[in-house]
């Protein structure tokens, strides 16, 4: 029994998109914290 090509596709593209969203999310969170004066 082997992993399908579809599963590998989902894994690879899913992880790349997840990373991209994470980077945008972190940047947005920092801007929000800076505007509120709550970065540190």
């Amino acid at each position: 029994m082997t992993f399908s090509s579809g599963f590998l596709t989902l894994l690879v593209y899913g992880s790349l998109v997840w990373c991209a969203i994470s980077a945008l999310g972190l940047a947005a969170m920092l801007i929000k914290d800076l505007l509120r004066g709550e970065s540190w």
Binding site: T2, A23, L26, E38
Partner: protein, 473 residues
């Protein structure tokens, strides 16, 4: 190493090294201006917000192993290998509730050593210090050595020079800026690493499709796409427990739990874990593409950079150089800061100079950071040992500390006998299994033995711990 065999022109390598060195040191000095006392230096004033907190959790956990060893895991253990590496994210995710509990129980705490000393007494504290210093120093040495080796392999920069520059830069900005500088640079480094991995990943997929990668693996290395690959399946549990042990015990993470503003810790570790989770897969799949792209891989630990440089040329080599440099700096600085704070608080302040004032403690922490850097440099110069073997050797030791910590934080019956026996028996049996069976079961066995002893001792114990004892001033 000849110039022809490296991926990047050495002059470009030196230029990148200089640019990032100046940037990190400059930021360290800038952020260091805020630090007046040991609390400012060691815990960034206990006021770090959610964005910086989440980023530093993720960035510190992204080591050069994540970007270099994850592709090697994929190359040797296939699809399960990438998923197994990602399991280390649960170390951060499951530490989230613990971070909240730690901040509540120990509002004035500084280190994980404080917890062991107050919760289980001096003997357990001594064993903990031995285990954690062994782990922290081997991690620090392996990171610095990896830095020298990778800069040499990527850009032909002499091993000793590359290792010295990375270590010196991290020591300077950590000494000057403390945890604040570490957390601030971590934010920038995390964004550079994640964006770099996304750009490189999509660029590789422009040259080869996932269907082609899958077809090549099925034809040439079918075990890598097999659902039942025994060693890979065992590696999942091993990495999960190794990750839990590393995060749960180490002062790198406890110092952040103390440094984050009240109410931030649990969210920051959860977000940090979720940010980290896809990175080993996004970095690791590139290794699986090596066959479909006809890239020769003479050394498995260099498979990621080799594929990227072959497919993307000079631009890819620059990208991997920056990603690796940021991965190394984000871990080395955190280890220097956390280990220096551990020695300052647990040994200098608690054992030697209880009356030391905050300004003196800050100076001591800075000198210890320098000493750690010099000591690490001296160990690294001869270039002995390999990255993976040093890392996994510590696996059973850190696995044996999971249960003493979890039960100690939540269960009044958890006892010193349980903690001491759990660490010694779990660590000992785990190390024996490391040498007699293999690395892929050592953490699992060490954790299981420790769990049985700790839970058994707690069940038989008549102790009922007073949580107020953890609120030491």
């Amino acid at each position: 190493m000849t110039e022809d065999s490296v991926l990047l022109d050495p002059s470009t390598g030196y230029l990148l090294l200089a640019i990032f060195s100046v940037l990190w040191i400059g930021l360290g000095f800038y952020w260091g201006r805020r630090n007046k006392s040991f609390e400012d230096h060691a815990l960034a004033g206990r006021n770090v917000g959610l964005a910086l907190g989440s980023a530093t959790a993720a960035a510190t956990w992204i080591t050069s192993n994540t970007t270099m060893l994850a592709p090697q895991f994929a190359l040797e253990l296939g699809i399960w290998g990438m998923i197994a590496y990602s399991m280390a994210a649960f170390g951060l995710i499951l530490f989230a509730p613990l971070a909240k509990r730690i901040r509540t129980l120990m509002p004035n705490g500084y280190t994980s050593g404080d917890f062991f000393r107050l919760r289980y007494g001096r003997t357990a504290w001594g064993i903990f210090m031995l285990f954690t210093l062994f782990y922290s120093l081997t991690w620090l040495v392996s990171m610095a050595m990896a830095g020298g080796i990778l800069l040499e392999a990527l850009a032909g920069i002499d091993y000793v020079w590359g290792m010295t520059v990375i270590l010196a830069v991290c020591v300077i900005y950590t000494m000057r800026g403390g945890l604040g500088a570490v957390i601030g640079t971590d934010f920038i480094q995390s964004l550079i690493i994640i964006v770099g991995i996304v750009v490189v990943g999509f660029a590789v997929l422009q040259n080869v499709s996932v269907d082609e990668i899958h077809a090549n693996l099925t034809a040439t290395k079918p075990e890598l796409v097999h659902v039942l690959f025994p060693a890979a399946l065992m590696a999942i549990f091993n990495n999960l427990l190794f990750g839990l042990g590393e995060v749960f015990h180490n002062n790198v993470w406890w110092s952040r739990a103390f440094a984050f503003r009240e109410g931030v810790g649990s969210k920051a570790f959860l977000i940090g874990g979720l940010v980290w989770f896809p990175i080993p897969i996004a970095a690791g799949f590139i290794a699986l593409a090596s066959g479909a792209l006809n890239v020769a891989v003479p050394s498995p630990d260099m498979v990621g950079p080799l594929v990227i440089a072959n497919v993307l040329g000079e631009v890819g080599a620059v990208a991997i150089f920056i990603i690796v440099f940021c991965s190394l700096a984000s871990s080395i600085d955190s280890l220097l800061a956390a280990t220096s704070d551990l020695i300052t608080e647990d040994i200098y302040r608690r054992l030697l100079k209880p009356a030391a004032d905050p300004a003196t403690l800050k100076k001591v922490a800075q000198w210890i950071t320098l000493a750690l850097g010099v000591g690490t440099w001296a160990v690294c110069v001869p270039r002995v040992g390999t990255l993976a073997s040093v890392l996994f050797f510590a696996g059973p030791l850190v696995g044996a500390m999971i249960w003493p910590i979890v039960t100690g934080l939540y269960w009044r019956r958890a006892s010193s006998v349980g903690a001491i026996g759990g660490m010694l028996l779990g660590g000992g049996v785990g190390l024996i299994s490391y040498f007699t069976i293999g690395w892929f079961v050592a953490s699992t066995i060490g954790t299981a033995v420790s769990m049985v002893w700790v839970l058994g001792a707690a069940w038989l114990s008549k102790d009922r711990f007073d949580w107020n004892l953890l609120k030491e001033d």
